[in-house]
Amino acid sequence: MTTSTTPFAILVELDGDGAHPAAWRFAAHSPTELLSPSRIAATVRAAERAGFTAATFEDSPLPPGQSFSGDGRAFSGDGQSTTAGRGGRGIIGRIEAIQRAAFSAPLTSSLGLVAVAHAVYGEPFHLSTQLATVDHVSDGRAGWLVGTDADAAIAAEYGRAAVSAEQAIADAADTVEVSRRLWDSWEDDAVIRERETGRYFDRDRVHYADFTGESFSIIGPAIVPRPPQGQVVVFAEGAVAARLGADVALVASIEQAADIRTEDIRTSVHRTLLELEVVLDSAGVSAADRLTALNAHDAWTPTPRARFVGTSAELIALLTELASDEVIDGVRLIPAVLDIDLDEIGRGVLPELRRRAVFRPPTAGQTLRQSLGLERPANRFAVDAPADEPGASHHSTATLEGASA
């Protein structure tokens, strides 16, 4: 699916104080300020100012960095779980990612907002409504990174029986599928405001989802109109992206990206982003020395992801090279320490990539789909609705609603 016009995307993960388990010790604020609205606002504004394509917000039904089930979960996606199990010394507090994304929406105008949301044990109907809401409040900038953790501690939190890792993926796939049906359950022009007949909406353009999966069924329709993007952009880790019907895969290696790319004709996955943990030189201290200092507090054990430890110039060179790689459509950068590495990337890396025309930041009002070069999908329930051309206005919902008012 990659074409010469596919924009190179650069996403950034904004959870906690950064991915390193000792990041909080090098933050610009005290631990008690981490969860304050002003700090969350400042971080997301910094990400938009830097020009990132999108921010991702990590989450889990478990406290960050903690797994209570002792099941040896090697990798939860937050990069911390291997080092900070129960009794760990890291951050244990977190505001729900969907709400952090929604809160960020009015504070930004171009940044994509991608929330991690667990899709195995919770209520899919609520989840689909929440994600559609993020898309509405951000005028089309919402993404969903699907959490598939089967952990028994998560099941206990929802009062449900734990399922196998395999079953968790199947249930998450059902959650994605029903979400997609619910997002389409209102056609774009369902709200007609027709005085003559007294009808606010056209019931022929609002559809039951009628989904029956292995572990739940949902009748629908959605209680919220179709998201501005038509479909919220669905992200997933590379190993499960195709099974989940995701639009975007986050991969740990170029090899994995190549595997997905050779299959993408048969799947929904249209973009592959390489995950990259980042430690940069800063304030005259080399990245390697910074990492040593961080690790002296709490070791950052390796994750399946690539870890970049070096200078801004070296990162620029790496990203320039990746931008020309035909199986990679972008990267998700995972800063070791937000208050240091996010700043370094924003000041020392992205401006040069822009100058080299390797990367173009999204512009105000652009949807996340537009930033990623993804089409606005046709509505599966509409009788004669062709897919919009890429770059076409995503504002059809608003326009149609307003026009007949």
């Binding site: 005290s30 507090g93 109907f125 919220v224």
Partner: protein, 469 residues
């Protein structure tokens, strides 16, 4: 008008004050969608406009309703009313970013939410808003709504308040699971938080057994404020035991006083001070330049709310059958309702009515007042609402404050998004001048702004602690 008398007898600086909240219902027939000034129900700009106006008018709360299944009428989607609304907590998280003081109230159901998940989402909004979140507890439990959820219609209707109390207590346990000083004050501390300070919560009732750990400290107001709206004896007792604000339907003076006396008595019996439970009835305000202008406007509002089709549908919800062959400007149907009980698919206001009794009652009103179908429906929905000039309405509101019939009103705007403009620009200054409305926020948290005590589980009084045990 009695301006002279009023200022002579009352010192504005010492009067009891009323407060306003705004109730953005999102699904109802009271929102006029056909007028040129009617904006989008879902665009964020509509919400921004409303909430910033409300905050300018020192409103204490912005309140979102909930309905977890799109309403149906005679077996098909009900298409005459505004419909389609965002997830309340997610929407309020976005609104938290553009407001400073106003409370953010999410209606959330206790039957179709997972208790710990719900508690965490409420705590998230509370922390994210700097202590401005509230939870309006509703107990909708019908199987029709359950068709959108994993467990379906699992709960016995008789258990709905027992289960609701379990969900509330589970939430409080989660909110209290962190000690006050759990998070380290310094980056040089041994760990980010005292791991022992964030304990595990394990709760069960007949339907759920949940176990988990809190992921958040208490907010600046400790817990989200608890709202409740049930009006049955059981609902009022539930509110008296658990809630801090009761969202009542009694916005007319005498019924409001009777209601207040009743719930205050129940609150005392529940071992709480009578003023622990604030009373906020829902109300509409229709403000004109003159009394005659206001009455004209009210007529226009009612006619816009009750279209001919809406009038017929209103009757159909009781009759249970297609009445489209009847003229909305003609008399009531001579046929009898075909159903024995009204359903739940049109919302709580229609549920559980006895159709034949209702039909007979309406026929009697229509006969007595010589009303057509549409005029009857307009008549039935006109009981609520203050109509008048700003100063005339302020006159009507004074006794509510002076006699403490209510603590405030939850304003239901009939026009989105401009429906608060008249209230904030014209009525609020009148009330402020008379000393019965705040001129500024008392603090930054909702609890402070409503004049509430700390949450029940966080009070030091030994008497209350004993009652809780």
């Amino acid at each position: 008008m009695s301006n002279g008398t009023r200022t002579a007898t009352t010192d504005p600086s010492r009067r009891r004050q009323l407060q306003f909240g705004i109730f953005f219902q999102g699904v109802n027939f009271s929102t006029i969608w056909s007028d040129a000034a009617s904006g989008s129900q879902t665009d964020f700009e509509s919400f921004r406009r409303l909430i910033t106006t409300a905050e300018r008018g020192v409103f204490s709360a912005f309140f979102l309703g909930e309905g977890l299944r799109l309403r149906e009428h005679l077996g098909r989607l009900h298409d005459l009313d505004v419909a389609g609304r965002p997830d309340a907590l997610t929407q309020l998280a976005a609104l938290a970013a553009i407001t400073e003081n106003i409370g953010l109230v999410a209606t959330q159901n206790t039957t179709y939410n997972d208790p710990l998940d719900l508690a965490h989402r409420l705590a998230s909004l509370d922390v994210l808003s700097g202590g401005r979140a509230a939870w309006n507890i509703v107990t909708t439990d019908n199987a029709w709504t359950g068709a959108n959820f994993r467990r379906g219609g699992y709960a016995d209707h008789a258990d709905r308040y027992t289960h609701a109390e379990f969900v509330v207590n589970t939430a409080k346990a989660l909110w209290d699971s962190w000690s006050d000083d759990a998070i380290s004050a310094s980056r040089d501390a041994d760990s980010w938080a005292d791991a022992e300070a964030a304990g595990e919560v394990s709760e069960r009732d007949a339907y759920f057994a949940v176990r988990g750990r809190g992921r958040l400290p208490r907010s600046a107001q400790q817990h989200p404020v608890l709202f409740q709206a049930g009006d049955s004896a059981e609902g009022r007792d539930f509110a008296a035991r658990n809630a801090e604000v009761i969202f009542s339907a009694h916005g007319v003076f005498e019924p409001a006083k009777t209601f207040a006396a009743d719930v205050r008595q129940r609150t005392l019996k529940a071992g709480r001070p009578a003023d622990d439970l604030k009373i906020f009835p829902g109300q509409e305000f229709i403000i004109g330049d003159t009394e005659a202008d206001a009455i004209d406007k009210a007529r226009w509002v009612r006619e816009s709310q009750v279209s001919p089709q809406t009038a017929i549908a209103f009757l159909e919800a009781v009759w249970g059958t297609d009445l489209s062959s009847f003229d909305p400007d003609g008399g009531l149907p001579d046929i009898d309702p075909v159903q024995d009980e009204t359903g739940e698919t049109r919302g709580a206001g229609f549920r559980g009515k006895r159709p034949r009794e209702v039909a007979d009652g309406w026929r009697a009103i229509a006969a007595e007042k010589d009303l057509s179908i549409r005029e009857l429906v307009i008549h039935l929905s006109s009981g609520r609402g203050f109509v008048g000039t700003a100063s005339g309405i302020a006159d009507q509101l004074e006794p509510f404050a002076d006699e403490h019939a209510v603590d405030g009103f939850n304003v239901t705007p009939w026009l989105i998004p401009s429906g608060l403009d008249d209230i904030v620009n014209r009525l609020v200054p009148e009330l402020q001048e008379r000393g019965i409305y705040p001129t500024e926020y008392a603090g930054s948290t909702l609890r402070e702004n409503l004049g509430l005590r700390p949450p029940l589980s966080r009070r030091e009084e030994p008497g209350l602690a004993r009652l809780r045990a």
